[in-house]
Amino acid sequence: MERIRSLKPKTSGDIARIRLEQTIASDYLECSSEQFQNMQRDILEILSRYINVKATKEIRLNLIQELKQGVPYVKTIQIKGL
């Protein structure tokens, strides 16, 4: 399934979405977009040692920060499945 999807050429809309997700995530983490991509790759690599990543469609990472007013703010970062 993954292979079929990757064979299909990405439209400019898909590319915009991927770039946007990465930019917002790297803004959030205050790291460069390259560092963020490396992090995504590293996390996937570590996970793949323990679980079947190939069979997993989506992996999300929730960063929960506490705001000053005490409201927990959750930012979800997509590791796989974009």
């Binding site: 439209t11 898909d14 915009a16 979405r17 946007l20």
Partner: protein, 264 residues
């Protein structure tokens, strides 16, 4: 019960002022008493978009500094008896007004109006702070572009940190033909990324440019964007209105225009 709404976006040129004018007009058409406040001091535009530029005598800074009474500065739109504009000053800058003064101004206007709509300047500096200070809810305008959505995401974060809980999204300049081809992010993509409630989606239409050339609003006209703005107003009023089918409208329009092109 008066609601104070700030219309903001972060990025410039996405349609804040146009949306403010159209939402104001739409609500006035529904017989709501509405005042639109241009908070973009130094770069005012709402007056021109609404076609009221020749009637300005006093402005927001005059009111705040006590040079005139609020009533003297409010411009009544003759086309809609319940619609008023409070223009910004053109020869001053954002520092002429403080967040406290904006809060007081809103409190003074609350007993008179059903809606106070603040047109926010682009950016996240003092102009944005001033506009947000008085607001109960926020409408974030964005377009389906990477830069505009990134800024919208930042703005939503800042609004939440400011304690504004009711934040909804207008996605402007959607072109369904491009979305269909995969060359534009869809409404669903944008909502998905921003994680905010959708207030409405506005198609990219010539009618909006033509109307603003004339200093008029499209809200309430036959155009799809006009319908979309009316739907937004009804949602603000608490009605549940299904999303307009932009796809049908655009393809219909396309069909018509290609038909006429052939004839010519």
């Amino acid at each position: 019960m008066c609601e104070v709404i700030v219309v903001t976006s972060g990025k410039g040129g996405v349609g804040k002022t146009t949306s403010t004018a159209n939402i104001g007009t739409g609500l006035a058409r529904m017989n709501k008493k509405v005042v639109l406040i241009d908070t973009d001091i130094g770069l005012r535009n709402l007056d021109v978009v609404m076609g009221l530029e020749n009637r300005i005598i006093y402005n927001l800074v005059d009111v705040v500094e006590g040079n005139c009474r609020i009533r003297q500065a409010l411009i009544k739109d003759k086309r809609y008896p319940t619609l008023y504009l409070l223009p910004a000053a053109q020869t001053r800058d954002k520092s002429a007004v403080s967040p406290e003064q904006m809060r007081k101004l809103a409190d003074d206007l609350k007993p008179i109006f059903d809606y106070i709509i603040l047109d926010c300047p682009a950016g996240i500096e003092q102009g944005f702070r001033n506009a947000c200070a008085a607001a109960d809810r926020a409408i974030v305008v964005t377009t389906p572009e990477v830069s505009a959505i990134r800024d919208a995401d930042r703005i939503i974060g800042l609004l939440e940190a400011d304690g504004i809980k009711n934040i909804s999204l207008i996605i402007n300049r959607i072109r369904m033909d491009m979305v269909k081809r995969g060359d534009m992010m869809s409404v669903e993509d944008v909502i998905d990324i921003l994680g905010a409630d959708l207030l409405g989606a506005i198609p990219d239409e010539e009618a909006i440019v033509v109307a603003s050339n004339h200093g008029e609003a499209v809200a309430g006209t036959e155009s799809v964007s006009g319908q979309a703005y009316i739907n937004i107003c009804r949602r603000l009023e608490g009605e549940t209105v299904p999303l307009l089918n932009l796809e049908h409208s655009v393809s219909m329009k396309k069909r018509l225009s290609s038909f006429f092109k052939k004839k010519a």
